[in-house]
């Protein structure tokens, strides 16, 4: 009887210890190091799960420990249990982003001054870190779609006569489109820097993209000149050729890597619209007098373009943040 | 006093008891005889509530067995010792442990008392030194006696023996027969002995009942049964199946 009791006790205790210690261990609690808890506020936390890893400069230094919506419902408070011996940056802020395509999100502690463009949540309590959740790919694509829609609207208004004012607006828009296409090219470059395996094939493609972008810019300059009264047809032809070439290259890139293709998607759709402008100009009344009806669409488009530009800049500076989405 | 009146019992289609009557008065020993499969064991199981009658009444000390709640039924079972046909010893326990089982259910009995009384009971059936043996390690006759020791441990008022001598050699049969008589003297228990062994029945019983076709066919002192003119009884007692055919 006594022996029975000992053995039963051993098996039960052992299983409980294994389960409890194992669970804690897998949740990242190591007995050897002490942890401290810091808190951060976010306007939203995406798909961050409790227990996700917390990184600093790419090194795991702790775990997310507690996620709760603030009582007034305006923010989310996230606890971060991090190793006590790690020194955080003076202007520490917390970024939340997906770590892989499998949906395991993680938190990263960054220096706020190094990320001026990100729209961090501002906590009123100075002890709480500001937080920002990176928009995921679907949001980027949505922005690109919005731009494409606006351009399409502009195109639809082609038949309507345009005034001096709208001509001026159009000039501005076209200028911006030129800048954007330049940035698309740079972005492609940045992507490639982050993804080593794509090297050769993609590099040549990129050079062609750059050349095409330059050509597009030149063409747009011509369009500008044209506005003050020039030859329509040849310019329009130029534009169309450029756009077609641009699109072919985008297709090339898509075949090379799915990752790049998603980020280049909006460039593609923009250019489709661009091509349509050219075509409609040609088949229209043969004059630019019908180009734009009202200036609101142009203004709207400009503000969206500004957003996209900001996003692209961030994209270019921190490609890793976005590249993670497409490559493991 | 144990009394069964008009008891009917069927298992599925098969009617085993069809209006069975029997009375076992305090202090007496009744032998219930009958062919194998006649339903003798079924009668005993009704008395301790292991089986419930379909119809009729079974009472012990004036209380209807079927109407007892669990506590009262356990109290009744402590007053009744049951010796099973094949002993039904718990084969995972030593003989001493087997005998102690019933005693452990009696409140207020110390561990030492339990052990002492178990040893006494084994002594009483001449198994004094075998308390540490397991049922598989002893002979059939010893097993029967161990079963008796287990049944008498709680000092029951009634003892039910289910074929206590069946399958034993003549010497052991006599030993068991004497043991039953001795137990009546020493613990004063009322006995109901189920058997188809007539020698034992004549030796231990002061009255006999013959079970046939679900009823008591004949009832009386051993002397009366022995000279019964009923061909069915006669056939059984003389071991002559031809006699049965004369009534068929």
């Amino acid at each position: 009887m006594r022996r029975n009791e000992v053995w039963v006790g051993v098996v039960i205790l052992l299983s409980v210890v294994v389960a409890v210690v194992g669970s804690f261990w897998l949740r990242g609690y190591r007995l050897t190091r002490g942890t401290t808890t810091v808190e951060a506020l976010f306007s939203g936390v995406g798909q961050l799960p409790d227990g996700a890893s917390v990184k600093l400069r790419g090194v795991t230094i702790g775990r997310v420990n507690g996620i709760a919506v603030e009582p007034d419902g305006t923010a989310v408070r996230v606890g971060l249990a991090i190793n006590a011996d790690v020194q955080l940056p003076a202007d520490a802020a917390v970024l939340i982003a997906p770590e892989s395509m499998f949906g395991d999100w993680g938190a990263e502690i960054v220096s706020r001054s190094a990320n001026p463009r990100l729209d961090f949540f501002e906590p009123s309590d100075p002890g709480v870190l500001p937080g920002f959740s990176i928009p995921d790919l679907s949001r980027l694509t949505a922005t690109a779609d919005e731009i494409a829609d606006n351009l399409a609207t502009i195109t639809d208004r082609v038949e309507v006569a345009f005034t001096q004012e709208t001509a001026e607006n159009l000039r501005l828009v076209i200028e911006n489109v030129g800048r954007v296409s330049e940035q698309v090219a740079e972005l492609a470059d940045a992507q490639i820097g982050a993804v080593e395996e794509l090297v050769d094939n993609v590099r040549t493609s990129t050079r062609e993209v750059e050349a095409a972008a330059a050509l597009a810019t030149r063409t747009l300059g011509e369009v500008e000149r044209l506005l003050s009264g020039g030859v329509v047809d040849s310019i329009v032809g130029d534009t169309r050729v450029t756009a077609a070439e641009f699109r072919r290259l985008a297709t090339d890139l898509r075949e090379t890597t799915t990752g790049l293709s998603t980020t280049l998607q909006y460039a593609d759709s923009t250019l489709v619209r661009f091509e349509r402008i050219g075509r409609e100009l040609e088949t229209g009344e043969g004059t630019l007098a019908h180009l734009l009806a009202d200036s609101t669409v142009a203004v709207q488009t400009q503000s969206v373009l500004t957003q996209l530009t900001l996003l692209l800049e961030d994209f270019r500076e921190n490609p890793g943040r976005y590249v993670r989405l497409s490559i493991f | 006093m144990i009394r069964l009146r008009g008891v009917h019992k069927a298992f599925g289609e098969k009617a085993v008891l069809k209006g069975f009557d029997l009375a076992v008065p305090r202090g007496g020993t009744v032998a219930l005889i009958g062919a194998s499969g006649a339903g003798k064991s079924v009668v005993l199981k009704h008395i301790v509530g292991l089986l419930a009658a379909d119809q009729g009444s079974v009472s012990v000390d004036g209380r209807e067995v079927a109407e007892l709640d669990q506590e009262a039924l356990y109290a009744l079972r402590r007053r009744v010792g049951y010796v099973f046909q094949f002993a039904a010893l718990f084969d995972s326990m030593t003989l001493a442990h087997n005998v102690e089982m019933g005693l452990r259910r009696i409140p207020g009995l110390s561990r030492r008392d339990i052990r002492r009384r178990a040893a006494e009971c084994l002594e009483l059936v001449d198994l004094g030194g075998l308390g540490d043996r397991y049922p598989a390690e002893i002979s059939g006759g010893q097993r029967k006696r161990a079963g008796i020791a287990r049944a008498i441990a709680t000092r029951p008022r009634y003892l039910l023996y289910d074929e206590p001598t069946t399958g034993l050699d003549p010497v052991t049969t006599t030993v068991i027969g004497r043991l039953i008589l001795r137990l009546r003297e020493e613990i004063g228990a009322t006995g109901l002995v189920v058997t188809h062994d007539l020698g034992t029945a004549y030796e231990v019983a002061d009255s006999m009942a013959f079970l046939h076709d679900g009823r008591v066919r004949a009832h009386g002192a051993p002397g009366e049964i022995r000279i019964s003119a009923d061909p069915v009884v006669k056939s059984f007692i003389e071991g002559a199946p031809e006699l049965m055919e004369t009534i068929a």
């Binding site: 009791e5 039963v8 294994v18 389960a19 949740r27 | 292991l50 079972r77 039904a88 084969d91 259910r105």
Partner: protein
């Protein structure tokens, strides 16, 4: 033709009724068992022995099965993931599968054979040799004396054995990953950590707890209703194993549907 069809319909109906009646009888036994809880004096001293026989004695077979399952999971995962999926997911697959599925279910099925059959055979023998009747005549409630200690021991020990088995399965998977596959310990551990949530352990305990109740209660049930000598005992053991295995798989699906 019509007669044959009717026969078939009738047979189906009879089988369904018999099944319902069997479930009902099992329910009655369980009710008696729960009522038996009051009689602590009867079963109190017996639980440890049953924990020993049902739990401790089953540890070796459970560990053996789990170790090989862990090895096979790691090998098959790496084979399946080649190229397309990052290799650290081998750790996720081994950990997740061992904890929430194969640990509890394989342990449950192995113990259905080992424990369920032995309980049914033991109680079946006690039934046909009238030992259960003897218990009753000695004022013991068989549900409290025989069923309760076994069911309690199963309810406690199945989860314990399962937790040990799952853990060893993961260790075996890890050893396989670092010895046979070209993985490092941190990689494997990263995979383990990535999808682990503590609820997995709770889920495993709930499952194996229900398997413990199933195997022991069905073993007792089929043992208790044994009829007809040695052949009957054999039939009881077989029925107990078959029924427990089926109920385990049904419970497995049930818990996955209800709790996940």
């Amino acid at each position: 033709m019509a007669g044959k069809t009717l026969d078939f319909v009738g047979a189906t109906g009879r089988a369904a009724l018999r099944f319902a009646a069997t479930v009902g009888e099992w329910g009655v036994l369980m009710q008696d068992t729960i009522r038996g809880l009051r009689a602590v004096r009867i079963w109190g001293g017996l639980v440890f022995e049953q924990m020993m026989r049902i739990g401790v004695a089953s540890v070796p077979i459970a560990l053996f099965i789990a170790a090989f399952t862990g090895i096979v999971l790691a090998l098959q995962a790496s084979y399946t993931f080649t190229g397309a999926v990052p290799v650290y997911l081998v750790g996720s697959l081994v950990g997740k599968t061992m904890i929430i599925e194969l640990g509890p279910v394989l342990t449950g099925l192995a113990l259905a054979g080992r424990v369920g059959a032995s309980i049914a055979a033991e109680l079946g023998t006690m039934r046909v040799t009238e030992q259960i009747d003897a218990l009753e005549t000695m004022a013991y409630d068989p549900a409290a004396y025989l069923v309760l200690p076994r069911v309690l021991a199963g309810a406690v020990m199945f989860p314990a054995v399962t937790l040990l088995a799952s853990s060893l399965g993961i260790v075996a998977g890890w050893l396989t990953a670092i010895q046979l596959l070209e993985m490092s310990t941190p990689e494997f551990v990263r995979g383990l950590e990535t999808f682990f949530v503590p609820f997995d352990v709770v889920f495993s305990v709930i499952k194996s707890f229900s398997f413990g109740l199933t195997v022991t209660s069905l073993g007792c049930f089929f043992g208790f209703r044994t009829r007809g000598g040695a052949a009957g005992v054999g039939r009881a053991a077989t029925s107990a194993v078959v029924a427990s295995s089926m109920v385990i798989l049904v419970f497995d699906a049930f818990w996955a549907a209800v709790l996940l």
